[in-house]
């Protein structure tokens, strides 16, 4: 019951994001979307996924979107909205195929689903002896899937470095008086313009 309501809220929010022209509002609504998704994961007992969704979706990605908005503009460019049948059909067909794919899967929460019968019992029984921590999820993530976790962390680190370079580098160049797009020292240009306005001769060598 709760999850159906939360799903309805999710769809409402998604439609709202589609309709809005105000990009700041869209960023805020996507943060709201993430909080809703986190609540939904919480209802489905996936607390770790929920927390990741809330931290990344509602926290970091909202900040990143705002950083992008600070560089670009706030309003979306107005253009005609019309329903094009080709893409709409393609999307609907993809959605139908995905739903068809879920029909084979075991129902949510089934005890004899392959996920619960394959490796999970072994983890539950042996991991306190083999690894140690009382939290089994921790020992799975940090020990049994250690390389996987290491790879994920590397990917996340690389992504963070890339984003910081994109967002932070521009500002540093601007502070130093350099326009990154032109490669011209803006302060020098301003100085030349000012001198010209005062009617002084330009120093030799300057363009």
């Amino acid at each position: 019951m709760i999850d159906i309501l939360l799903f309805a809220f999710l769809m409402l929010t998604a439609l709202g994001i589609l309709r809005l022209r105000d990009l700041f509002a869209a960023a805020m609504l996507s943060s709201l979307f993430s909080l809703l998704a986190a609540s939904l994961f919480m209802v489905m007992d996936a607390v770790d996924v929920a927390f990741t969704e809330a931290a990344v979706g509602a926290g970091i990605s909202t900040i990143l979107m705002l950083a992008t908005l600070a560089i670009t503009k706030r309003q979306e460019k107005a253009r005609k909205r019309q329903l094009r049948p080709g893409p709409a059909l393609l999307v609907l067909a993809c959605g139908a195929m995905l739903i068809y794919g879920t029909l084979d899967m075991p129902h949510f929460g089934t005890a004899d689903a392959p996920v619960h019968t394959y490796l999970a019992p072994r983890y539950l029984e042996v991991s306190p002896i083999e690894v140690g921590p009382p939290n089994i999820v921790t020992s799975v993530l940090a020990s049994y899937r250690g390389y996987d976790t290491f790879g994920e962390t590397t990917v996340v680190f690389a992504a963070a470095v890339g984003v910081l370079l994109l967002l932070g580098g521009r500002r540093r160049f601007r502070d130093a008086g350099w326009d990154i797009t032109m490669g011209v020292d803006l302060r020098e240009v301003q100085e030349i313009v000012a001198r010209r306005q005062e009617g002084l001769k330009l120093p030799e060598g300057d363009p």
């Binding site: 709760i2 309501l5 809220f9 409402l12 929010t13 709202g16 809005l20 700041f24 509002a25 805020m28 609504l29 943060s31 709201l32 909080l35 809703l36 986190a38 609540s39 919480m42 209802v43 607390v47 927390f51 809330a54 931290a55 509602a58 926290g59 909202t62 900040i63 705002l66 950083a67 908005l69 600070a70 706030r74 932070g168 500002r171």
Partner: protein, 100 residues
Amino acid sequence: MFAVAMIAILICMALLISKAFTADSVFDRILVINSFGTKTVLLIAVLGFLSGRPDFLDLALLYALMNFIGTIGVLRFTRYGDLSSMDQDTTQKPDGVEWL
């Protein structure tokens, strides 16, 4: 008891979503997100008692903390357009939401 609380929280969520669509100022929307985060915290707390396993109450605390930090971050951005201007550097964007 907890069911009633849950229904109240869900109604609050619906109201907040409708407000998020119709809000007409930047700060209204930020406030909507902040109080929606609070509703998430409440939902987690009530959900634990509703399902008889209140083990995740500390997680609700963590959500509250994150919500607070997130709101501060968003507000910094609306003020400075940047996260790293920790000092009183208001020379670039002095009038707050002008860049928006």
